[in-house]
Amino acid sequence: MAYISAASTISHQPTFKNAGFSALLEVLGESSALINPEYKEYIDAGLLRRMSKILRMSVACAKECIQQAEIEQPGAIIVGTGLGCLLDTEKFLNNSITIEGLLPPTSFIQSTHNTMGGQISLSIGNHGYNMTHTQNTLSFEHALQDAMLLLAEGEENILVGAADEHIEFLSEVAHRLHVYQEKQLTSGASFFVVSNEKTSGSLAKISDAQSWGLVSNVEDATAKFLKDNNVDLKALDLILYAGNLSEFAEIDTEKCIDYTDFSGIYPTASSFALHYAVDSIAQNKPIRNVLIYNALIKNNLGLMLVQSLEA
């Protein structure tokens, strides 16, 4: 069980510092672009000049979450990313094949997957547990499970989130990404502060999060997940999904929303769905039980059960 006390997302939707955004979402069009906040309000100019898109998004969301949660320091920083810092990786690789002699160090230093966690830690002076999970489309679910294990051990106020960035090269190899549908490839970052105790600032709770690689039967896995949490499929008020729901015979399609219509596609888009669920619960009281069903890649399944504090 994890109580969410802060949530922040930068995406192609008006999500950042905008409680109630879930009512304002529009299906992405070809002209949609990442909506960037004024990063200088969150990041020192000396650091900002080196930061690529994914780093700016991650640090800004992380700092916004810490402000929202009114905590000085999180007990741990846990990040999920499917493809890591692609802009810097591409830049470094291009440098290494085009430049003779010394290579500029910045893009190399910032090309590793754990740069987001490191930069967040440096920018707030945090010396706690710092972990990055990269498991393709299940990266965020793995990060969240890590956070929930730490909460169960007594850790308080964990900053957990995910980010991925789009570069043009991804569009060229989109057919090799094995995502279920061909939709716009995008960038996004979502971070949360989760705690093991309910407070006056709690927005919703994550009752469970699980993931399966090489899943054989998604309907059985989902049924067991819900049964373990004493929630009936019919008791779900909202199902935010990515992938294919056609294998579910008894599902009420009116309750189902494909969140990639709004987030676009990136490996950790399920973190966008979590913020979407939290905002829906906080703004729309009848919504109590939300299932996030992440089958963005057919063989991977991630499930999160998000509930209102009263559920």
């Binding site: 100019a45 900002l48 000049r49 080196r50 010394l102 290579l103 500029p104 160090p105 910045t106 230093i109």
Partner: protein, 85 residues
Amino acid sequence: MDNLKEDLKKQIIEQLNLEDITPADIADDALLFNDSGLGLDSIDALELIVLLEKYHGIQVTNPDEGKDAFKTINTMAAYVQKRKG
């Protein structure tokens, strides 16, 4: 010499991605690694070494040399001139 200093300022701005800074904002005698100057750090020092090789064909192999050379635009220009002989 003045042209060289101007070139160095432009190259530093590009190499270090110094947003919102123009060559006119960098005084010739401003300390590059001090907050009163540009406030550069150790990663920037590595970028300056790359810059000298990339634009001027100079390899800085002696760390002590770099320490003095990278103090200001004046010292960088003097170092470049000396190495190019």
